[in-house]
């Protein structure tokens, strides 16, 4: 029996539920018998129950929510994103997001996040911040229609995976590498790989159905 089988790792979600349960039990003790706070031990229990444990539980919960927000399912839970999710199933290898998603060139469960995060210092933080902004606008504001990127798509995000890959080392790519790295020639708008989500043409597209 391996170490992991003998001592299975507790998932963050389970940890949150355990912490929530433990916090509620301790809080109930204080709520039902607040007079215990007269003693030193009671004060310690009250401090644990009403401050330390809730802060820790909220922190672990927030961290778990942030992790989950990277999932494709999370992004597609907003109605406005539905056509973009549908575009991942277009049956056309020239359709860049669909080809990446269907062939697992990116993790299928983090498809949106993998391509739409900045692979730069603080890119993850920026992506989360923009995600919070999206959620805020979706619920409390008016989302732009059609939605569009804040900035032109940076080649850095493509090169993060493709640079150095054997399939990418063609003479064509190598000849324009400096332009690609400096973003003077865009991967997505220069006419080479310009079939992106194309949500306005989904009505004409054929779709791939994954096997169960």
């Amino acid at each position: 029996m391996s170490f992991n089988e003998r001592y299975p790792m507790i998932s963050p979600e389970t940890l949150v539920f355990v912490l929530v349960g433990a916090s509620i039990v301790l809080i109930l003790v204080v709520v039902i018998r607040p007079s215990i706070t007269a003693s030193r031990e009671g004060k310690i229990i009250a401090f644990l129950a009403l401050f330390i444990l809730p802060v820790v539980t909220a922190g672990v919960g927030a961290s778990e929510h942030m992790e989950r927000s990277e999932q494709t399912q999370f992004c597609l839970s907003c109605h406005i994103m539905e056509p973009y999710g549908k575009s991942l199933y277009v049956d056309d290898p020239a359709h860049i997001p669909a080809a990446h998603f269907q062939n697992h060139r990116i993790p299928a469960d983090q498809a949106c996040y993998t391509c739409h995060t900045d692979y730069a210092m603080f890119g993850t933080i920026q992506a989360k911040w923009e995600g919070l902004h999206h959620v805020y606008v979706y619920w409390f504001g008016t989302p732009m229609n059609p939605i569009r990127l804040y900035h032109p798509y940076n080649n850095r995000e493509c090169l993060h995976c493709h640079a150095g890959a054997r399939s990418f080392e063609s003479a064509t790519h190598m000849a324009m590498m400096d332009d690609l790295k400096s973003n003077t020639l865009s991967c997505t708008t220069s006419g080479c790989h310009d079939t992106i989500h194309n949500v306005e043409k989904l009505g004409e597209a054929k779709f791939w159905k994954p096997l169960e």
Binding site: P34, H65, R68, S77
Partner: protein
Amino acid sequence: MLNKLRTSGVLLIFGLVIEALSLCWNTALSFMSFVVIGGLFFASGILLFLYSLVSGGREVREN
């Protein structure tokens, strides 16, 4: 002070229950309910508890 502790505890229990419920789904709505509603209960519960500590000390000195 005891009433404040009770109220603080009840607020925190609501916050914890909302946190647990919000983790049952992975949608923007569950995230928002955790941040906005759960956060409100958490913040008010913890602030009330901290206030009860400060005001409790002051009440003891005044008595």
